[in-house]
Amino acid sequence: MATGLLKGLGVTFKEMLKPKVTTKYPDEPYPFPNRLRGIQKLYVDKCIVCNQCVNICPTQCITLKGKPHPDPEKKGRKVLESFEINFEICILCDLCTEVCPTEAIVMTSNVELAAYSRDELYKDMQWLDENDTNVREVNHP
């Protein structure tokens, strides 16, 4: 009559003796696969200010400004003046890195973005440049 109940008790009892499946996340870093879409890394000098990332972004979270190249020989080319990603609305969809022709913006597998203030979620050019750990190796399929 109550065999199902007893079998259930057996399952939980056996599980108690098995090794645990949880990871010790904050104590030990969790190894994400390299392909993971985390916070972007920006190579400022690779950017050619083509604005494709701004145009493709589905949430319009990227703002960038260019200025003429300081080297007079490279006339007509531009370099970055400012670059900002608003991580309040960025959905880490990978489209900006997909369209970038020079791989100036690439993904990393860093995911820890929590902050005490919304203002801290506006990440500027310098911050994105310094975010250089766990950078994704292959960015264009």
């Binding site: 009559m1 109550a2 065999t3 199902g4 109940l5 079998k7 259930g8 399952v11 939980t12 599980e15 499946v21 994400f32 696969p33 392909r35 993971l36 879409r37 493709i56 972004c57 589905p58 959905i91 880490l92 969809c93 990978d94 489209l95 997909e98 993904m107 399929p141």
Partner: protein, 367 residues
């Protein structure tokens, strides 16, 4: 003369068993529900309207966030519509990758349903066992698509990434083999449990005519004996190449729906196993396409089988990079309409069980 008054009870939007921000206004007499009014819209983001200003590639991340438990299939429904409109030929390898991830996603989605449903019934542990298995699928997805939930993996014309070099297909195969044992464990642990059976059998019953009249799809329809599964009825992608069954039951109660979802996991497992066996060793993963996709002017409606039922996608194109109109027929939204009818006369414990058995995802209901 004893005078009794009906009590208006506001269930949700912050209630442990409404699976998100769903609100239900019920009038109860004692514990018996006299009237139930679902109130939705707390998660409405206007996906369809937003899509009118976005290119087709940009809409893909939005489909992730509709049925967020089966984002791979959500992605596919959109790209499938656009591909049908353009008459595109999809490379073989991409089709196989799509089927593998879609069916794995169906398993992952049903696992979440299994866990949360038993949580609704008051059992804590199956939830963690289900998530233990789901975690393995999410790991596989993170390796191939770079995300654990919002994959954005499909692209019009193929898939974004090829398999990672380090034996990903082998790991899928190993998971699929191991998962059989997990399913057996779930059956001994939960299906055989007398309390579960007593709670589910004969509750929340409706017949075939009602199900069809309400436009129910997916398991909610198949539990009444209608063998309708889009994968078999209107085969898309390469589903005609696999040998699988559409489980059907005739009881139309919670127990039938429970067993069907469990059986669907087994069938998806079979499909993945076959797909892995047939997986082509080389080839392209993307069709040749211009960078900016402009489908020809016209309209198209396609439907795919989501874990929760039939998802339809309607695209009206004027030949521009943006759709003129995009509409999603979301299975959860339509399945939810039968809820007020089912709840009348039930008590609060059954209310939770019935709502859980319809299996809604609020991201999809509110879109």
């Amino acid at each position: 003369m004893i005078r009794t008054e009906e009590l208006v009870l506001n269930v949700g939007p912050q209630h442990p068993s409404t699976h998100g921000v769903f609100r239900l206004l019920v009038k109860i007499d004692g514990e018996t529900i006299v009237e139930a009014t679902p109130i939705i819209g707390y998660l409405h983001r206007g996906t369809e309207k937003l899509a009118e200003d976005l290119t087709y590639t940009q809409i893909i991340p939005y489909t992730d966030r509709m049925d967020y438990l089966s984002a791979m299939i959500g992605n596919y429904s959109l790209v499938h519509a656009v591909e049908t409109l353009m008459g595109l030929e999809i490379p073989e390898r991409a089709e196989y990758l799509r089927v593998i991830v879609m069916e794995l996603n169906r398993i992952a989605s049903h696992l979440v349903w299994f866990g949360t449903y038993l949580l609704d019934l008051g059992a804590l542990t199956p939830f963690l066992y289900a998530f233990r298995e789901r975690e393995k699928i999410l790991q596989l997805f993170a390796e191939i698509s770079g995300a654990r939930l919002t994959y954005s993996y499909m692209r019009v014309g193929g898939v974004k990434w090829d398999v990672p070099d380090d034996g990903w297909i082998g790991r899928v195969e190993r998971f699929v083999d191991e998962f059989q044992r997990a399913l057996e464990e779930f059956h001994t642990f939960v299906t055989g449990n007398e309390i579960v059976q007593a709670r589910l059998k004969g509750v929340g019953r409706y017949d075939r005519e009602t199900a069809v009249a309400y436009g129910l799809t997916g398991v909610n329809l198949r539990s009444t004996g209608v063998p309708y599964d889009v994968r078999k009825a209107k085969p898309y992608s390469i589903y005609d190449r696999f040998d699988f069954e559409v489980p059907v039951r005739t009881e139309g109660d919670l127990w039938a729906r429970y067993l069907l979802r469990m059986e669907e996991m087994e069938q998806s497992r079979r499909i993945v196993k076959q797909a892995v066996k047939q997986f082509p060793s080389g080839g392209e993963i993307m069709a040749r396409l211009p960078k900016l996709i402009r489908p020809p002017a016209g309209e198209v409606y396609v439907s795919v089988e989501m874990p929760r039922g039939e998802q339809g996608v309607y695209v009206y194109s004027e030949g521009k990079p943006h759709p003129y109109r995009l509409h999603f027929r979301r299975a959860s939204f339509i399945n939810l309409q039968i809820l007020p009818k089912l709840l009348v006369g039930e008590n609060i414990a059954n209310m939770v069980a019935i709502l859980g058995s319809i299996d809604i995802v609020l991201g999809e209901v509110d879109a």
